[in-house]
Structure formats: structure tokens, C-alpha cells
Amino acid sequence: MSHSGNWEVVIGLEVHVQLATESKIFSGTSTRTGDEPNRHASLIDLGMPGTLPVVNKEAIRNAIRFGLAVNADIARRSVFERKNYFYPDLPKGYQTTQLAEPIVGAGEVEVQLENGDKKVVRIHHAHLEEDAGKSLHEDFHGQTGIDLNRAGTPLIEIVSEPDMSGAEDAVAFARKLHSIVTSLGICDGDMSQGNMRFDVNISVRRPGEPLGTRTETKNLNSFRFMEKAIALEVARQIDVLEDGGEIVQETRLYNGETNTARSMRTKEDANDYRYFPCPDLLPVMVSEEEIQTLRDELPELPDARKARYIEQYQLSAYDADLLSGSIATARYFETAAEHGGDAKLAANWVMGELAAKLNAEDKDISDSPVSAEHLGELIQRLKDGTISSKIAKQVFEACWNGEGSPDRIIEAQGLKQMSDSGELEKIVDQVIADSPAQVEDYRNADDAKRKKKIGFFVGQVMKATQGKANPQQVNQLLQQKL
């Protein structure tokens, strides 16, 4: 359906970031995932009568690190409150969170768009809270099983201002946040595991009109899904409005497999969360010294890394942005560049062959079958002329398939470039001798045509050498002899 006239899209994000601490936010229980249900649900996480919370120092420090990374105000005093509602995955009947006095105040993030434009997205605040458990619907013959291993895992919830005007902005902002928290090392960043969860608030309006009613879309476990879900919801809202309907404030659940979304529950039965300061906890006070120490210890952040790539490796801004965006990619790239001794080649390989292969097999760079060290080795062989770029792709493929290191593959498969000019000369002579008609044709052509016609002889030589000849050397020899 086509839409008439201009519509403005207004998007804000609420991002839940699971902090990569050893223990939970209010208990000394392991945050490990993947174990049997309720193996990491202590008396405190279960909300046993008489149990009490004690705050994890590292969770506080991680929240501050994030705040510093987005130039936000760090609250010297923050307060945990209780958000009261009943749900089986919420053992205490309230979630301990922050509302009136969050630990991270207003901040901002700059994002780079594909067309080179930069955009600032403001952060309203970020607060600390505990995660809920999980409801399992399968295997309980019509009932629901409750697993509280995740209950109490520390989260920071980042709330943006509604500064984004489309899917591109929103995804760029989301990627930037992902990059920041993974660079800080405060989050593992695996969206498919729910390490980072993005809820998107979307509304549309005619230019100049007040903000429209917004909906919240949840369950976006990849950037690709986020992009699709936003497009879907924007189109839906415009359809509704253009048909004379009204947008209902609601939470929508996106399904990535079918690219559809459905309403979860309307806010009609709006809960009254009865927030109040948690009487089991005291205000968290943070000293200037502590903030300064954390500031001094901050690792390199994506913006600084990007600047360094441009400066140190002479990469283009676009390449530098792509490579510095994810900490995993950045680490991979830097290792490959160091081992290969050529940053530009490394950049091309990481963004080219490697990215394509990862994409095709839906793999994360941290799970790449070709390690950064191996890619570096491959680049080295390419640089020192041991192999041609064509052979390099073959070696890469073999390396991806687990056939060993590039050196071993080159050795085992005899892929070394033919550097002995005597041997190559013999092959060139043979090719010329075997193709009198083509030689004749070549010799009768003018310079411009010769350039094309020499390709036939190069191809024959490469065929005869199984691609191991150095194409430049072949060219040279052919020109001499023809």
C-alpha cells in the first residue's frame, strides 16, 4: 500500500543490557547461563521469606563506566526502588530498579549514518535493575514451568530520547550502544542470548503536528530484525491512520521468522506499579575519586578507535567505522593486521571475504573458523609473493574448512607460486609453440588489441601451472617472447 504525503517517524529506544558480572546484582549467586533450571537460584533470588539484598559493587561500577562512555552525569547518590507487580518469573512480587534517582543521568551518543552524516542521539538516563526469571511453556503439559536462574542478573536499562527518525538511525544507535558496552567489557553483547534487548518505541505524525500515540515493539534479537520490525510497524501505523483509525498504545511482539508482529497486551489494564524506595537498601553513594579512577581506567572506546584506525592505518572513515564498530571485529582486525604486516590488506579481507563468509553461514566473528592469526599468516604469504591473490582465496577456503594453517595448506597442496623463472620460461615457450594461430593473430594486432589478446596466453600458462605462476611475471615473459 502506498502512503500519501509526508509522515514523520519518531523513535526512542529502551535498551536492556545484561552486565557481565560473576554474580547477581543483589546476591552472590552465579550469573552463569545454560545450566539446569534453578541451579543458580539462591534463597535470595527465590525471594525466600527473611532474605535480603546486598548490592554488587561491580554492577555499580559497570553502570558508571557506561555513563562515563556516553558523557553522562553520574549520580553521586542513587536510590533503588521497588516496582510492584505480580508475575511468576518475578519471585518477590516486585522488581528492584531505579526510578527517581537513577545512577546515570543525561548523556549522548554520536552515530555515523551510511551517507556519511553524523547524528547525535540523546540518552535520557540509564538505571540499574534486576532481570526476571524465565517462563517455560514447553514440556509442562499445559502448565508453565518457572526457571529463576536469570532472576537477579544485573541489567542497565538505557532510555534514549525520541531522537531517531527511522530504522537507519535506530539501528545505527543500537549498534553504537552495542559497540560501547562490548568495548567497555561490561556486556557480552550476544543479542540472540538476550544479553542486549532492544525495545523500540515508535510513533508517526504529520510534520508540525504533536507526537502521535506510540507503540512499543519487543523481541528484536538481531539488528536485522530491528530494522525490519521498525519498517513493519511504521507502515502499519501509517496504514491505520490513513484509513482514519487510531493507534492504540500497546506492546507488540515481533516474530523475526515470519516478519510479523502482534499485540501483547494493551495498556488498558495499565498496571499501577506503586514505586517506592526499597526499604531493604540504602542510597548508593559514589565518590568523586571513584568516578575519576573509573574514568582513568576506561578502555579505548569506539570513537577513539575509529580515529586511530584512520590515523594509524590510513583507512577511510567508512572502513574505520565498520572495523571499529564491534569490539570483536576490531580485535580480529588488529590481530590480523599485526600478524599480516599490512593493515589495508587486513581491512579488505575482514570486510570482504571474511564478512561474506560469516554472513553466509550466519556466524559471529568471534566464532570464525579462520582465526585472526591465520588470516594474518595468509596476508603475509600474499605480501611476500608466496601465493597469488587467487590462490589466497583458495587457501582461505581451505583454512575455513579446518584444513590447517595457511602455511600448512600451501605446503600440503603445493600452492607455492612458481618463482623459478627458468621453469616458467619453459612453460611459456611451450604455450607459444602449441598455439601458432594465436601467436600469428597476436603479432598482427595493434597495441590496444594485443593487451586483450595476451590474456589467452596468460590463461594457458596459469592452467599449465595450476595457478601457481606469478601473473605479473607471466605477463612480462610473454610480452618479451611474443
Partner: protein
């Protein structure tokens, strides 16, 4: 044996006059004989008590004398005790065997205490008469047609009847002091944060505090010495050194300045109650203390402030009782909503439900500022009143309760009237101060108590004042008849 104080029993054990097993069996025997009438225990842990007593006897034989070695103690059923039913006086937890032990109980056990059992209480500590217990009301040993006060009614009654020589309680708005007064025993609510709340089932987290009840101030000092101290598991438990309460008992009170707030002696106060408290202060005057008249103007709002803050915190604290992970679950729930609503409605009693509703209402949108926030502001005014007063005086005194033990059922249908039973004790919880109630005589044959309030962490001082008073009087040695 049972007429002796904990302090005397400790000496007897050390001297070898009797063994812990003999002592423990003696009290277990008394519980069997008399508690049918009083209903002061919900659970008696006979086997465990005898095991602990035997261990204590071995320790004593080996020369290992700790603060409470071999001494039987009754714990309020609000403290989690591993492997033992911990009901909190509620149907909701009638089937709940605690999977761990409260710090206060554990610390006493580490000092050699023997647990006799778990005492009856108002349901979730919400009440001033012990009539809201799922296990039925406790009777006052001085007159079994009367209430023992609450919520630590079982603890106070069991002490008065000499069924236990020492007991623990908790005090959110007067739940140690008021029953202590109504039963003629001594009870201490420490400074908020002095005793760990870990394992103590929460009623109102910012007000709850555990403390001892005993036959004398010295006994309370002995028990507090074991209970008090920092606990990593309770964020609100302060890391302040624990004073030598026993060592401070005998200090002179010559020159002690006793603040007498006019608000503790309002015009409508029963004359006999007022006179009883004034007599107690006169006794201390004889020992050189000075009385200083003062005013705490904001405490007239302590009951309304309390009945917003406590129910608000309780409404949230009691949400965990949802029939999912422990406790009562209704039969055949049709869906989740039904599971929650019926489990909670059937599991909680009327007073608990009332307070949950009041608290829910006070926190709900549109009322938060008018009720909860305003109550917290009044709370500051009350605390500031006390802080000002303590610049001029050492302790503050007045009656503990505006009346002696009332008849069972007398206030059961009138919650607001019942709430006034704590009119003199509640302000202390809002301010977080330490206070005790000591027996100070009888009115028409029923015990009356006088409250001694101290500044923060001045437990040693108020115990000292009460001890000096008890050295000169024998009210605390009186025992009700009929429990031979």
C-alpha cells in the same frame, strides 16, 4: 529453677548446680504442663533442644563457657530456623519448613543457646494483642481472659509464666515493648540496624528490629550481647562496634538527665498509668537522676505516619507469598490470577489483608504524595524532635502502653482503637531509636511497664538505667500465680 533469671541460671550452670539437660527438660516439662492454657508456643522443638543441651553440657565440661552456653531460649516464630516450621503466625506458612536460619538465632546458637521452640505471635507481626495468629490467641498469664499484647505476645507470656527463661522478639511499632509491659517482663528494641534482619520475616523493613525479652534488664543485656553486630547479609545492619552491655549495667545514674515529654502524658491518659510511670522516674530521681520536661511536638502524628509507612512496606514485602515457590496454595487454581487471588485470600488473615490493602492504596498512583511521601516527611520531623531532645537529656521516659492488658476480643472489631495501643512506642521505630520496657508495678493486679528510650546505639545506657531501677525494686521478680 524456673524462677531464676537467665543470669542466675548461667551462674548455676557454670557452678555445676545443674546441667543444661536438666534445665532444658525442666522448661520443656513446664511447657507441656502449662502451655495448653496459654498457647504461647506454636512449635516446641524438644529433640533439637535436648541435643543442643547435651552439646552445651559437653562444652561446659570442657571449660567452654560462652555467653549463653546451655541456656534455653524461645524464639519468636518470625525467625527462620532451618529444618523447623517457621509460620510467622500465618496459615500462609503453616507448611513452611525454613531452609536456613536467621542470623540473630544463629548468633545466639553460636554462643551456646538452646532453642526451646517457636513462640506464638500476631500474624506477620501485625497486631497488638496476639489475636490475629492463625494458631489462636495467646492468653495473658496474669489473667487468662486478657490478651498478652503483641505481636511478640507468645514470647512475653511464656516468660511471664516461666515457661522459658529468655526469649527473642521483634518490634516494628512496639511489638517487643508493649507485650513486655502487659506481661510484667523486660523487653528491648535495639537501634535500627543493631541486630541483623537476615532471616527475620519482614513486616516493614525500615522499622523492623529484633531484640530480647527477659526477666530483667541484665538478662536482656546478656542476650543482646549475643544477638547484636554487623552482618554482611543485611545492608541496613550497621558496622558499629558492639558495646559491653553487661559491663555497663552497674554504672551509677547519679546526674542522669531523664527527659519527660509532655506528649507521653496527655490529658486523656489513664491517671493510674501516668502515676505508675512517674513513680518509676521518682525511683531513679532518688538515685540522683534529674527530670527534664520537654516536648516532642511531632510525635502526635506518629500513629498516622506509621499506619501509612508500615502497611506500604508490608504490602510490598508480602507480595512474595504468592503460592508459587513456598507456602500455601489454593486447591485447583483455574488460572494464574485465580492461583494468586485465592492463595493469598485464603492464606492471609483479615488484619493482614486490611494492611495490605491500606498499603497498596497509599502507594498507588495519585495517592503516593498525599500519603506515603507525606508520612516519610513527618517521619523526619519526628526523628528531628528526638535528635533535638537528646542534645539535652540522656534518656527519655514515659509509660510503655496507655493501658494494661485488655480483655480478649475487646478491640477485635475496631482496628483504629487497637492501633492506639502502640501510641507511645511507635515514634521510637519511626526514629530508629533503642528503647526498652521494664515492669514498674501493677494496676488492679495487672502489670504496667515504663519505657526508657535512648539515643542511637545507647542500648548500654538504657539497660543500665533499667538495671539500676531493678536493683531498687522487685516488680520484675513478680510472677503470676497458677503456673507452679
Amino acid at each position: 529453677m524456673h524462677d531464676k533469671t537467665l543470669t542466675e541460671l548461667k551462674a548455676g550452670l557454670q557452678a555445676g548446680d545443674f546441667s543444661s539437660r536438666e534445665l532444658t527438660e525442666h522448661f520443656l516439662e513446664r511447657i507441656k504442663r502449662h502451655d495448653g492454657e496459654l498457647n504461647s508456643f506454636i512449635t516446641v522443638t524438644e529433640e533439637q533442644a535436648l541435643r543442643q543441651a547435651d552439646a552445651a553440657d559437653q562444652a561446659i565440661a570442657a571449660g567452654d563457657h560462652r555467653l549463653l552456653t546451655g541456656l534455653p531460649i524461645a524464639h519468636k516464630d518470625i525467625f527462620c530456623t532451618e529444618g523447623v516450621r517457621t509460620s510467622c503466625g500465618s496459615r500462609m506458612l503453616d507448611n513452611f519448613t525454613a531452609p536456613y536460619t536467621a542470623t540473630a538465632v544463629e548468633k545466639m546458637a553460636a554462643e551456646g543457646a538452646v532453642m526451646l521452640g517457636k513462640t506464638n505471635m500476631d500474624e506477620f507481626a501485625m497486631g497488638s494483642s496476639n489475636e490475629t495468629s492463625f494458631y489462636g490467641p495467646v492468653k495473658n498469664p496474669w489473667d487468662t481472659e486478657r490478651v498478652p499484647g503483641g505481636s511478640s505476645g507468645g514470647a512475653a507470656a511464656s516468660l511471664a509464666a516461666r515457661l522459658a527463661p529468655g526469649a527473642t522478639g521483634t518490634d516494628t511499632g512496639g511489638s517487643i515493648r508493649q507485650p513486655a509491659a502487659l506481661n510484667g517482663v523486660t523487653g528491648l528494641k535495639p537501634t535500627y540496624g543493631r541486630v541483623s534482619r537476615w532471616g527475620m520475616i519482614a513486616f516493614a523493613s525500615s522499622l523492623d528490629q529484633a531484640g530480647p525479652l527477659g526477666l530483667s534488664a541484665a538478662d536482656c543485656a546478656l542476650m543482646l550481647q549475643a544477638m547484636a553486630g554487623h552482618d554482611d547479609k543485611d545492608s541496613t545492619c550497621l558496622n558499629e562496634p558492639v558495646d559491653d552491655y553487661l559491663g555497663a549495667l552497674d554504672q551509677s545514674v547519679d546526674g542522669l538527665k531523664i527527659g519527660v515529654p509532655e506528649e507521653f502524658f496527655p490529658d486523656n491518659l489513664d491517671g493510674a498509668i501516668a502515676e505508675n510511670a512517674r513513680d518509676a522516674m521518682r525511683e531513679l530521681e532518688k538515685q540522683g537522676a534529674k527530670l527534664v520536661k520537654l516536648s516532642l511536638p511531632s510525635i502526635k502524628l506518629s500513629v498516622p505516619a506509621y499506619y501509612v509507612i508500615a502497611p506500604a512496606e508490608a504490602s510490598s514485602n508480602l507480595s512474595r507469598f504468592d503460592g508459587v515457590r513456598f507456602g500455601y496454595r489454593c486447591e485447583n487454581p483455574t488460572d494464574l490470577e485465580d492461583l494468586y487471588k485465592r492463595s493469598r485470600s485464603e492464606g492471609f488473615g483479615a488484619e493482614v489483608k486490611r494492611r495490605i490493602l491500606v498499603g497498596t492504596y497509599a502507594l498507588s498512583a495519585g495517592y503516593y504524595d498525599a500519603y506515603y511521601k507525606r508520612a516519610q516527611k513527618v517521619r523526619r520531623l519526628i526523628r528531628d524532635d528526638f535528635s533535638r531532645a537528646f542534645k539535652d537529656v540522656d534518656v527519655i521516659m514515659g509509660p510503655t502502653s496507655p493501658e494494661t492488658a485488655f480483655k480478649l476480643g475487646a478491640k477485635a472489631d475496631d482496628p483504629v482503637n487497637m492501633y492506639m495501643a502502640d501510641v507511645f512506642t511507635i515514634a521510637v521505630n519511626l526514629a530508629g531509636l533503642p528503647a526498652l520496657s521494664m515492669p514498674s508495678g501493677f494496676i488492679n493486679g495487672l502489670p504496667a511497664g515504663t519505657q526508657v528510650i535512648g539515643n542511637y546505639f545507647q542500648e548500654g545506657r538504657i539497660l543500665n538505667v533499667a538495671h539500676r531501677y531493678q536493683m531498687a525494686t522487685d516488680w520484675h521478680q513478680q510472677a503470676p500465680g497458677g503456673f507452679a
